[in-house]
Every structure is written in structure tokens, then in C-alpha cells.
């Protein structure tokens, strides 16, 4: 334990408690094969939501994400749903999205490359809130009922921040 513990201790102690820098960029295909990049959402508040078809709490969280998408979309907010099903079950993704009548963009991370960038442990569901400056503002791991209140508060806080102020330490 000691070598790893020492390394993480040094790293985490060295971390300044200031605003984060830009989130890593990525490009994925959506359900219709179109290429979608995080950079296309520059200047918006974005919630990256990682999920899979077999993840029960993910399905319970989805209606709340849809409400955020509808309610805060006009203010410059978007949900980017990132599905982590691999190739074997990916055919079930679009039917589930259609049946739940979800309208936010759904991207396919079939090779687990993007989930590896943000959430290497692949805990599901897992959400990353990115502010207008493109910085990671908050991370949410797992979902239990009531967690959507925390997410909504964080979304509201990010939306009221002006784009320039968001990067000020």
C-alpha cells in the first residue's frame, strides 16, 4: 500500500483548491451515426451523463435529466448522455431512448475510451458537470433518489456564473 499511498498523497496535497481547467475533449458518434464533439458545446453548461442499458439506477435518473434538459436548455444547458454499452448490447440503446421519450443527445462510447477519460472505474451512473468555460465543475457518482436535487443545484449555480468569471480562481 505504501508506494501508492505516498504517490496519491503527494499528488492530492499538491492540488490547489482552485477552479479546474478545461475538461478533456472528445468526439463520439450519436445514435444516427453523426460525429459529435464536446467542443461543439463551447460556452454552454454541459452535463455528461454516463449510463448503460442494464444499469437500473441509470434508468431511474433519466427522467430527471430530461427535465433539466427541457427546463434549462434555453439558458444554455445541455445533457450529453454517453452510453457505455459495448457492441453486443448497443442495438438496445435507441429503442430504450425512444420508449422513454428522451430527447437529449445520446452518444455511443462502444470502446470505453471516453468513460476511461472521465470515469476509469466505470461506476454507473456517473455525471460530470462542465461549466461555460469548459472546466469540470462537479462530479456525481452513482444515483440514489434525491440526488437529482444536488445535480439541479449545481446546474443552476453554473448557469448563473458568467462565462468569463467561471475561470477566475
Amino acid at each position: 500500500m505504501r508506494p501508492l499511498a505516498l504517490l496519491s498523497l503527494l499528488l492530492l496535497l499538491a492540488a490547489p483548491a482552485s477552479a479546474a481547467d478545461k475538461a478533456p475533449g472528445f468526439t463520439l458518434r450519436d445514435l444516427d451515426g453523426r460525429s459529435v464533439s464536446l467542443s461543439q458545446y463551447s460556452g454552454q453548461v454541459v452535463l455528461l451523463s454516463f449510463w448503460a442499458t442494464w444499469c437500473t439506477p441509470c434508468q431511474a435518473e433519466m427522467p430527471h435529466l430530461q427535465r433539466f434538459h427541457d427546463q434549462y436548455g434555453p439558458q444554455g444547458f445541455s445533457v450529453l448522455s454517453i452510453n457505455t454499452d459495448d457492441a453486443r448490447s448497443v442495438s438496445q440503446v435507441k429503442p430504450i431512448i425512444k420508449a422513454r421519450q428522451l430527447t437529449f443527445p445520446v452518444l455511443l462510447d462502444r470502446e470505453t475510451t471516453v468513460v476511461g477519460l472521465f470515469n476509469p472505474a466505470k461506476t454507473l451512473p456517473f455525471s460530470v458537470l462542465i461549466d461555460r468555460q469548459g472546466a469540470i465543475a462537479k462530479v456525481f457518482s452513482g444515483y440514489t433518489p434525491g440526488d437529482e436535487v444536488l445535480v439541479e443545484q449545481a446546474v443552476q449555480a453554473s448557469l448563473v456564473q458568467p462565462a468569463q468569471a467561471a475561470s477566475t480562481p
Partner: protein
Amino acid sequence: MIPSLLLSVLANPSAGAIPVGGDGPLAGTVVQVNERLIVRWYRVDDVLENFEDLRVLDYGEQVDRLTLTATKGWLTLGVQADEVTLFANRYFLDEVETWERDLLDPALSSPWPAAFVRLEKVYAQAQGASGELRLGDTYVSFGRGIALALVRNSEIDIDTSVRGARGVVHLGAWDLSVVTGFTNPQQVLLENPNLDMGPDDLHEVAAVRVERFGPVAAGLHAVTWKFARASDDGSPFARYGQVPDVAVVGGNVEASGVGGLDLYLEGDWFGYRSADLFVEEEPRPGYALYGSTSVYPGRFTVLLEAKRYLGTERMNAFATPWGYEVAAPPSLDYERAITEDSSAEVNSNDIAGARLKVQYAGREGLLVPSLSLGAFRDADLGGLHFNGSAETIAHPVAGVTWIAGDVHVLANAGARADVRDGDVRGDLTLHGDLDVVVPVGALGHLELGGAVLRFRWGENDIQQTDYWDVTHSLALHHGERWSFLVHQDFSDNPLVRSTGNLGEDLYLAGEVQFKPTPAVTTSLFAGAYKAGIRCAGGQCRSVPGFKGLRLSVEGSF
């Protein structure tokens, strides 16, 4: 480790990434940290003869996984370092130190006898508008995973990467991908005991894929494998000059939303050259055909999938003994009902079948009943099959998802009947699973989750007894930080190799979870859970049971 976690939480309570400040060359680099620490105390049923009153065989295990990614502009560097330590795994008997449990296979060296530290994954990735290059550990999946599928499936402790190089070139609507390297299975496990870990088998893969994207997409791919043998000597790179054990070529077409229809078709041909992949047979080719289509009339969604596989699973023969697969075609089966018996059908080398699933969007998508019917013809009589007859399998499953404010209900129930040729009684499986959440005022939310399976054996070569398999848990989620859980399992399946703490077949456990921040979860678990097959993302593995105490901390920073 715990102090470092707590310090990080206190120092950086909200941000999900750590920027490197200053004006130096690392300025602007974003470092992301994910860490998971697990400490387990195993209570062992066996006792040492003549020392029955002393629990000297109980032992402890501590596992740590630290993942770091650093991104600056177009360059990302990533490492995953794992460490595992056994403690209290030895005792002195007549002044002689006895190791009851070994952490490492003697073929695997470690600077510490009771600890193992390993750089499990390491990579550098350069990404630009015209393509990407990744050196080190990479993941790859072609088409529907029939020819090649090596991706993270950490939910069930499977994370096999290709350690080598991968390049992708974007040419307008075209992508060209090339990957080559050796398999790198993850050795240190988070959920399963780490005992007698041995060195990796370095299977060599080379693969190429050309893909065109758009409303109508198409792809062609080729994959070769050269599998490592126990008799190998010398450098694994020598394998590059050898004839492949298997070569796969395939292609697919996909239409999205064309005329309101989604369509996917894939065909793969497997050219086997090595007799090591066959048991008492000469190598012969295999093939796979897979198709899916979905339509969305009104409030309905209809998904139809069909498959025909002959000799496709043979390619996994060198990997499955070590708990992973190098390719895994869609099984079309319901994951939560896969048993020791039905896993043979999932891995069949001679099977055809289809599954139809219909969902209805009621109450604006908040009430979604579903019905699916799978039907398969399994003619593979070898491998894991317990019987000597070809069988026809029917598997209907009904389900519902209902979400109304703070209340949600997800439920599924199904029956799988295996009908054998020749008037031989087949197996029957009845199964159901449920997840219900209701608010309970100021206390928070109450969640009941569970699954039940009843299995009736048919006439088999190895006759077993019918069994029940039940798993359920009751959780109280109090506020945003606390959850209190009680887990109870029951299984009288003779193939399940674990025993309960409330009797031979009954398991009870309690768990408290605390989230100091939304990104950090701590858990204390005491009790037992049963062994069994656990599936996630189309892959399954047999997970051992557990009896004892477990403390875990997981967080992202």
C-alpha cells in the same frame, strides 16, 4: 491511503479535476484522479485441525487502485496502478512459518512477499482532427464484437486491453483503424479474491478496420490472433513471424433512421488453422451472421435481432479459462437469467436464433411495459453442455418501468424452456427481478431490490437437483449522504460453491454507505453473500461468495 483521500476531499471538495497552475511546461494540464481502496477480512469456514477454537485460517486483503489521467491539449497520458496485499495469511506451527494462502504464483516475482504492485495500464494518446494515435494499453471493438471485442467491463472485474499501438485516421466520412499488440488482462481484482496470481498470457492480435459513416454506414475488418501456449519460450514478439491461429474477416452495413427504420447487418468468416482450438477434430472454418432492425410505430418500439453462429466462440478457447473473452457476439439472451446451464447456450458454437422485443411508451415515457421473446436452436453438444441432445429454447420476458415522481418501479419476469430432441425432458427456468423505490417522509427513500430464479433440471449427463436462487436487499437512503442496507441471499444450487452465515444456504449482511461528497462513496459491509454467475454488458463471470468484513472507499477528484 485513507488520510490522502480525506485530505483530497477537504482540499478540493467540488472540482472534478486538478489543474496544474504556474507558467511552466505543465501549466494548463488537467489531472484526473480516481481511487478505490478496499480492505476485506475473510472469515473462512475451514478450521485448522487441533486448533478448532482459533480462527487461524481467517485472513485479510487490501486492494488499492489508483488511476491518473493527465491531459494537455492534444496529448493525454494515463496510468492505472494496482496494489494488493494479503495479511494474516500465515501462521507459526511448531515454530515453522506456514503460508496458508499465497498471493502470487511462483512464476510471478514481486519485491514484497505479501504485496504486489503493478502498473496495470499505461498509455499515451495524441488526438487531432485528422486522427489519433495511442501507444500502450488500448481498447478495441469491431462491429458488434463478433470478430474482436476488448473493452473495459470493470463491473465484473474484466478489463483486458491490447498493449501495443492503435492508430485511427479520419478521412472525411471514412475512418481507418489499425491496432496491434498483446493482450493485457487486468490481474488485480477489486471484487474477487486475489490469490495465486500468475503472469499474463501474451496473445498477439493484429487488426484493421475501414469504416464509412453516414445515414448508411458500412465497414470492413480483418483480425488475426496468435495465441500464447504454456510451452512458449523466447520473446512473444517472435509470434509476429508465425502463421496465425485464426484469421477473421467480416463486414457490416448500418442504416440509421432511413425510412423510419434502423438496420444493422454483419457477417464474419473465421479461418482456423490451429488444431489446439479443436477437441479431437480437424480445424474447420466458422462463420457468424447477425442482424438487428428496429422500428418506432406510434408509441411502440420494436426491436428484432437474429443470429447464426457456427464455430465463432472457438476463438475464445485460450482466453476463457482466465476469465475473459477476446470476442463476444451478441447472445440475445436475458442477462439476469443466465445460469451455469444456460451459459452453454450463450457460448454455443452451433446456434441460430432471434429475439423480438416490443416496448410501449405510456405516460410520456414514464410508464413503459415491455415484452420480449427469444427463440434459439442450439445444436452444440460439446463444451459446457450438460446434455447430449440438441435443443430448442424459448424465452419470453415481460417487464415494466414506471417512474412517478419519487416512486419508481422496474420489474421483469420470464420463463425459459429448453425443449430437447428425442423426447428427453429439458431444463426449465423461471425468473423475476424487481427494483422499487418509495419515499418515506423525513426518513428519505426506501428501496427494495431483488431477483429470484427457480431452476428445474431436465435429464442431463451430470444430474443435479432443482434449486432456488434468491437475492434481495432493502435500503434506506437518508438524505444525500447516508444509505443503510440489509442484504439477504438464498441458494440451494449445488453448483454454487459458497456457504451462508445463517445456515448452509442462507446469507445475511448489513452495509452502511456514506458519501462525504457526491463523488466519493465509503462503505462498510459485514456479513456474507453467495457465489454465482454475474453478468454485465454481455459478459459473465463466476463470482465467488464472501463472508466477513469489507471497508471500501472510492472517489474521483
